[in-house]
């Protein structure tokens, strides 16, 4: 491929920029110089490891190892969804709901993607893993925003939901505004990034392909594909997570069951 390969010395040279930044924050006692250096060091180590893992996976090109890597990504993203909730569902639901809906949405959408792009073999990790990664990253954000908003709104507006239930409304009628609100919040990032794409920002994946020597129009086509995939993953994932949350926080007698949330911890 016709791109300029970077040497490690190039990275050492550009790392001076990070050091400069850290130096400024130390000089002004901004208190974030240390955090910046740690974050930069983490990024270097994590990315180098990822490079090694991907290199190995690509050379193996085995469905088993690719599948395991995918599973690992999904489980880790599920943990991240849980960590982003201020108030969690109780028990297994705290981890299970976010992880299950994200797994369902991201694997389904990745399969759609692989069917569309049709690499040979279809499980070629060079396609499957980056596609899955981008879909998971965005679906994860959508699900955590949706669940967070649902739980926050229900805890805050308990009395307005129960006022409707007390007058004989079904749980679906009483919860509809809350559901709508949670889904709007979940969809907002992908809607924003689709609206701004190409005007304000050159999306990262497209930048990468252009740097790697791809024709800009080919890169654009990939970028549009990936945005549609992300939109699909976010919609499917957050819809099922929010409806699952409503299912768990209500019961068959159409009651609101906030007792199925973890109690608010006093340390917060």
């Amino acid at each position: 491929m016709n791109y300029v390969t970077l040497t490690y010395w190039d990275l050492v040279f550009t790392s001076l920029l990070v050091l400069l930044n850290a130096g400024i924050s130390f000089a002004f006692r901004l208190d974030i110089g240390g955090k910046l250096l740690i974050a930069a060091a983490r990024a270097v180590v994590q990315l180098l490891l990822m490079g090694l893992v991907l290199k190995t996976l690509f050379s193996l090109s085995s469905p088993l190892w690719t599948g395991l890597a995918a599973l690992f990504m999904v489980l880790f993203a599920g943990r991240e969804i849980m960590a982003r909730q201020k108030r969690k569902l109780s028990g297994i639901w705290a981890y299970g709901l976010g992880t299950a809906t994200m797994m369902m949405a991201s694997i389904f959408v990745t399969c759609v993607a692989l069917a569309t792009v049709a690499p040979t073999p279809w499980y070629d990790p060079r396609y499957a893993l980056p596609l899955l990664g981008m879909i998971i990253g965005n679906t994860m954000t959508g699900i955590s925003l949706g669940l967070h908003n649902l739980i926050e709104t229900l805890s805050r507006d308990k009395s307005s939901v129960e006022a409707q239930l007390a007058l004989g409304a079904t749980k679906w009628a009483a919860m509809l505004p809350t559901i709508r609100n949670a889904l709007t919040t979940a969809f907002m990032p992908i809607i924003n990034s689709m609206s701004a794409a190409g005007l304000v920002l050159i999306p990262g994946m497209m930048t990468g392909q252009i740097l790697a020597g791809a024709d800009p129009m080919d890169a654009v086509k990939y970028q549009i594909l990936i945005m549609f995939l992300i939109a699909g993953g976010v919609a499917l994932g957050s819809l099922s997570a929010v409806l699952g949350g409503v299912f768990r926080l209500t019961d068959s007698r159409h009651r609101l069951r906030l007792d199925r949330l973890e109690p608010i911890s006093k340390s917060q």
Binding site: S159, A163, L165, A166, G168, A174, R255
Partner: protein, 198 residues
Amino acid sequence: MLSVSGLKRPGLKPITFTLNAGECFTISGPSGSGKSLLLRALADLDPNEGDLTLDGRPRETFSGPEWREQVIFFAAEPGWWADHIGEHFDDFHQAHPYLNRLGLPEECKDWSVSRTSTGERQRLALIRGLIKKPKVLLLDEPTSALDAEMTTAVENLIDERRSEGAAIIWVTHDTHQADRMGSRRFTIISGNFSETVE
């Protein structure tokens, strides 16, 4: 009309009573003794156990919403789910006969909920429930934010409903109100439900 046998929920000892059409039970007791918990359980808003029947029909044969349309719980601090008062009514014309009696103008339909007073919200929430014509009214301190004149207006309105055959459970701190309204009077103290004997 409403028969309750062995009603259990966390915070209450088992409760049994029969409330007939045209009766009004008053319940008093210290704050936090379980009065609201009982009303919420009767409206099936919280998980609870026990055999409840309405006009002889077991609660299990009603869906939750069907039950709560007949047995309406009027919260002490009623909730509002839209910005304007009128949006909380299917048809605001149904509210007109009540507005004047409770000292509210017809224009209150367009009032913003956030600008109404506690007392106005209390009366509007009462009207919101009354127009559903429930068989049983569970009132949680319905006059706590009202002056003497409006308290009388609410008492007369509820008493009218009672004489038309509705059954009422009225939670109140005011012993005079309990004397005026109650055909039978009860207390709840630390989750123990008992009839007040003179």
